[in-house]
């Protein structure tokens, strides 16, 4: 499988580190800048993982708050964004539990792609819908590895550190996720 490419460039880790240090020192604007840099990527990850769009704002805010509160535990073991996305995964899991352990699958994010002719757009929209449902049905680790790799374009080594697993295990999770999703899309 070809190397997935991230849609949005990941901000410089060095600049993130400086902002984190400034936030630890009490600089509120540093926190604001970190939110500007990473909020959309976090929202995309959460929506891809099945967050209902109606709750997306709240889930993004909750993940950011948890990250800022726990920032002393972040030691640059992976990129700040990757760490933030894994916190987002925990927030979404807690949200799912509060919602009565129902699978949370985005129902509103089903608009077709904007390019191509109407038939292609409809086809792309249908594929997105099926993939969204499929991703929502994956076991949590497979889902997160798949999104971090395919949606966010991260390397396996980075994913492994963020999810506290091995690179080999991350590859296996990705392989299983892709196999199941391809079956679903065919």
């Amino acid at each position: 499988m070809a190397q997935p490419q991230p849609i949005a460039a990941t901000p410089s880790p060095a600049a993130d580190a400086a902002l984190i240090a400034a936030w630890r020192g009490g600089d509120e604007q540093a926190a604001a800048e970190l939110v500007r840099r990473h909020a959309r990527a976090l929202a995309r990850f959460l929506a891809g993982a099945g967050a209902p769009e109606a709750d997306l704002d709240d889930l993004v805010q909750e993940a950011l708050i948890r990250a800022f509160r726990a920032v002393d535990r972040f030691r640059g073991q992976c990129q700040f964004r990757t760490w933030l996305l894994t916190i987002g995964g925990n927030v979404l899991k807690d949200h799912g539990r509060r919602a009565g352990r129902h699978k949370v699958v985005a129902l509103d994010d089903r608009l077709p792609a904007r390019d191509g002719n109407p038939h292609e757009r409809a086809e792309a929209g249908e594929a997105e819908e099926r993939l969204s449902v499929g991703v929502g049905a994956l076991p949590r680790l497979q889902r997160e590895v798949f999104l971090l790799r395919a949606q966010q374009g991260l390397e396996y080594a980075e994913i492994a550190v963020a999810l506290d697993t091995t690179e080999g295990a991350a590859r296996v999770h990705y392989h299983h996720a892709v196999k199941r999703l391809k079956e679903l899309l065919q």
Partner: protein, 141 residues
Amino acid sequence: MNDDAKLEATAQRLGAQAAERLNVERTVAAVLERLRAEPLSASRWSWRQPSWLRIAAALVILVGGGFIGRRLLVHPGTGAHKVAHFVSDDLRDLSADQLRDVLTTLDETLDLGKGSTTIPDADLEDLDAQQLRVVLRSLEG
């Protein structure tokens, strides 16, 4: 377009439109407001929820009971009872979800400062209440 490329292309679009609709400046304002308003302890723990109070009580029982139980086992002559009592037996009325929360919280408590978790959440997801109690009991030594 082959299947792999199609899957990648679709995955990269997943959630993109919902993310575009996020009002980032509103998010910035809301996050800063909460950071100003919520003291650290209040934001880390939602004590207002009764379930958290119950879980906290269970944790105190588990950690304290485990400590005492271990002392009794290591120094059997110093205690009146020589039969090991597992505190996890006292948690029979907790649901699988609550037991999962106890384990996760306990893991976080034990892991403070280490930066990584020792009980993978994904593994806990797959366990039923009985298996979760076995894990709890194993933590008591």
